[in-house]
């Protein structure tokens, strides 16, 4: 998921493999649910023209993937202006639909860039409870380490039972040091210590975990703002990335999450997890449309290798049930 510099070519072959691998995984997850959407499209369009009724049914299909009523309507408006009242085949419709969705997503697909100028490059992970922050940190640490970077983790969730141990196990698994404090300790104090140590030891990257928090709990959001203020006291340019972790099964509330975390934690990017289930993560399309915040990666499983670059065409195609990866027009 990280942008690699010149040396990357050596691994080109491996990455092609990997890409196919992850898409297969993503798609096998998505296709379980996209079966419905594709059959749906098939049913509608072999039988009828792309008339108002068909469009409404198509809108329904988008809604069931969590695009939201507004975004679904806008996507279909563009579609209908091109195809309305014409005889079209399902494949064509699907391709056009995927194309519209890809066009919304393409501008936000941006790999995370680690700047060597930052010592360390500080990444703060935020989000509501249970979305996958800690797990994603473990996965990212592995990828960064594989790129030859020195990585340190900070167990900033001092609240949840065994959250520290969970991150420590990830640290052992990946082979990177973990800065941890006391359970129930002050999260911003831990962030301070972690900044101290990572700077002192000349680390390339510091990944800071935070406790899950609902965005409507203002006291918890204040606490997060404080963590950021403390990090800035150590390095005014940090955190260099603040990543909101969104769960693909989340519905329209993800928009609230993005807005509020955006305002209070000034998020710079999004990672969507749990795309290996039957949820299609259509809310990401709505988020892209509304906020335009970069999407860095997607999580497609619990294992360390289950984090992949965000590929808008593949995402869009899988969303509407297209077979091939590259085909979105």
């Amino acid at each position: 998921m990280f942008k690699r510099k010149a040396k990357a070519e050596a691994k080109a072959e491996e990455r092609a493999e990997e890409k196919k691998g992850w898409f297969q995984r993503l798609k096998s997850g998505l296709s379980r649910s996209t079966n419905t959407i594709s059959t749906g499209i098939g049913d509608i369009f072999t039988k009828r023209k792309l008339d108002a009724t068909s469009l409404e049914e198509l809108e329904d299909l988008l809604i069931t993937s969590d695009l939201g009523v507004g975004t679904a309507a806008r996507v279909l408006k563009v579609l209908s202006s091109q195809r309305f009242e014409k005889e079209v085949d399902p494949e064509e419709v699907r391709r056009a639909l995927a194309g519209e969705i890809r066009d919304i997503l393409a501008p936000v697909a941006k790999p995370l860039e680690i700047s060597p100028a930052n010592k360390p490059h500080v990444i703060l992970m935020v989000g509501v409870n249970g979305t996958g922050k800690t797990t994603t940190i473990g996965k990212m640490a592995r990828q960064l380490k594989d790129q030859g970077k020195s990585v340190m983790l900070a167990a900033g969730d001092t609240f949840r039972a065994a959250a520290i141990e969970q991150l420590q196990i990830w640290g052992e698994r990946v082979g990177v040091p973990v800065v941890a404090g006391k359970v129930g300790g002050d999260a911003s104090g831990l962030a301070w210590d972690a900044m101290d140590r990572a700077m002192g030891e000349g680390m390339d990257v510091l990944l800071i975990d935070t406790a899950g928090r609902l965005q409507n709990r203002s006291e918890l959001m204040d606490e997060l703002a404080k963590v950021i203020r403390v990090i800035r006291k150590k390095d005014a340019s940090a955190p260099h990335d603040t990543i909101l972790v969104l769960d693909a099964t989340t519905g329209q509330n993800a928009l609230n999450q993005t807005e509020v975390f955006g305002k209070i934690a000034e998020i710079t990017g999004i990672i969507m997890t749990k795309l290996d289930g039957s949820a299609r993560g259509g809310i990401l399309v709505a988020c892209a449309e509304k906020f335009g915040i970069p999407v860095h990666a997607v999580g497609v499983g619990e294992a360390v290798e289950d984090l992949h670059s965000f590929d808008p065409a593949a995402f869009a195609n899988a969303l509407v049930g297209l077979e091939d990866i590259e085909g979105a027009e």
């Binding site: 939201g68 409870n129 065994a162 196990i169 409507n216 519905g251 509330n253 749990k274 289930g277």
Partner: protein
């Protein structure tokens, strides 16, 4: 963000209330809004369609067309239908049979199973004097077993000693054997999170079920779940046979449409709701409460409970009396602002109140930050008691004086006064509100408001 369900429905019902008779076209217009609102609340599309069709059947007909106040009729029909769909009465856990009884907790990754296991065990231990044992069958997530052990320690519930390298079925069997030995009544089996589309993982939990024959198999699901809620609930029920649902993160500002979806596709009751990360944040599920919250009635009962925690009793009593009279002066505004801050901010509070969407938006636009609050406090402090009692006497020269005194501007004072007016209007509205949004007689106290009185 998007218009809340309460906004939409109150908008529609305002329109309907204003008209004398209810035509089919009116019903259609209302149902279109209902459909949109439910979708924005994340109710699954199929469920929305059935609901709307059902409503149409109920709404168009003699009953409504002949009614004197058609708007009220529709409100009642929608409210009743929602409540009915959510299960009518609240259903409790049924732990029957010879002890030890097994309670199995299942669900997607991160939905709240481990936390919920500890919450339920704590509640049954404290309230029903049950002897509980908890065991984690999660051999996958790092530190999952440790997490349950720590929660057990916090709640004072024994947990099964952790043995590395055991399979989930082996752990479950060991837990049941230990419970028999110790004479425990209930064994809580916390399982690893799993996707319903993961055949291997589903087979694993089916094997556990077959080994322990649980009296309750609870699907723990996130109330913020979107359209996928139907797939999750349907599949867990089909493959495993669930006895009920626990909805977590109801303390969020999601509209909770997943509750409707899951109930509708499985027919299984929502038994409990999680309302926080702490171990006592577990509540019974009250269908009528949730449906009235969805409807725009506002979850007055929950609000009262939440308020009771934060507001000093005297204040509450004063406030309740004033609200009942529809009074609300600037002193009240100041008290209110302070309490709101304590209660998780304006937004959290307002989301629980009926018809508050618009004001909520205005408040959000006004950017009610810490500084803003300080300014408002300063403004009110610079007013005379007379001005605070009766804001109308604040003319241009008085405003200038207050602005100078508080180090703010006349503009800011006007903003505050506007907000006060809106709040006062809201208070009046709330005080008029009756059950299911019906207007009660002019003198009757709205249901639920007696709860603002101090508890005995």
């Amino acid at each position: 963000m998007f218009e809340s369900l309460s906004d939409r429905l109150s908008g529609v019902f305002d329109k309907l209330t204003r008209r004398g008779a209810l035509s089919e076209a009116d019903v259609d217009a209302a149902l279109k809004e209902v459909r949109l609102a439910l979708l924005e609340a994340d109710v699954a599309l199929g469920v929305v369609k059935d609901f709307v069709a059902d409503m149409r059947k109920r709404a168009i007909g003699h009953e409504v067309l002949k009614s004197v106040t058609p708007g009220q009729q529709v409100v009642k029909i929608v409210g009743d239908a929602l409540t009915e769909m959510l299960g009518g009465e609240s259903e409790l856990l049924s732990i029957v049979g010879a002890p030890p009884a097994a309670v199995l907790l299942v669900g997607l990754q991160g939905s709240g199973k481990t936390t919920t296991a500890a919450k339920i065990a704590k509640r049954l231990t404290e309230r029903e004097n049950k002897r509980c044992l908890m065991a984690s069958l999660d051999i996958r997530r790092p530190a999952a077993q440790e997490q349950l052990r720590v929660l057990g320690e916090q709640a004072g519930i024994p947990t099964l000693p952790i043995v590395a390298g055991e399979t989930p079925v082996a752990i479950a069997n060991r837990a049941m054997a230990a419970a028999r030995l110790q004479g425990a009544d209930i064994v809580f089996l916390d399982t690893a999170g799993r996707m319903h589309v993961d055949a291997g993982m589903m087979a694993e939990v089916v094997a556990v079920r077959d080994a322990v024959q649980p009296v309750e198999t609870l699907l723990v699901a996130d109330s913020l779940t979107g359209q996928d809620a139907v797939n999750v609930a349907r599949e867990f029920d089909r493959q495993l046979g669930i006895t009920g649902v626990v909805l977590t993160r109801m303390d969020g500002d999601g509209r909770g449409g997943a509750a409707l979806s899951m109930r509708a596709v499985t027919g299984k009751p929502i038994k409990l709701i999680g309302t926080g990360e702490k171990l006592d944040a577990l509540e019974d599920f009250h269908p009528a409460r949730i449906s009235s919250r969805i409807l725009g009635m506002g979850d007055v009962v929950s609000l009262v409970e939440k308020a009771a925690e934060t507001i000093e009793q005297e204040d509450a009593e004063k406030m309740a009396k004033k609200m009942a009279r529809g009074e609300f002066d600037l002193d009240d505004l100041r008290t209110q602002l302070k309490q709101m801050k304590k209660m998780g901010g304006m937004k959290g509070l307002m989301s629980m109140l009926p018809g508050m969407g618009k004001i909520q938006k205005q408040v959000a636009e006004a950017n009610l930050s810490e500084d803003m609050f300080k300014h408002q406090d300063a403004i009110i402090s610079s007013m005379t008691p007379g001005e605070r009692k009766n804001a109308r006497i604040l003319n241009a020269s008085r405003k200038k004086r207050v602005a100078a005194g508080s180090g703010t501007s006349v503009q800011e004072i006007n903003k505050l006064l506007k907000m006060h007016q809106q709040m006062a209007k809201m208070m009046k509205r709330v005080s008029k509100m009756g059950a299911r949004g019906m207007m009660p007689g002019p003198d009757s106290m709205p249901p639920g408001f007696e709860n603002f009185m101090p508890r005995r």
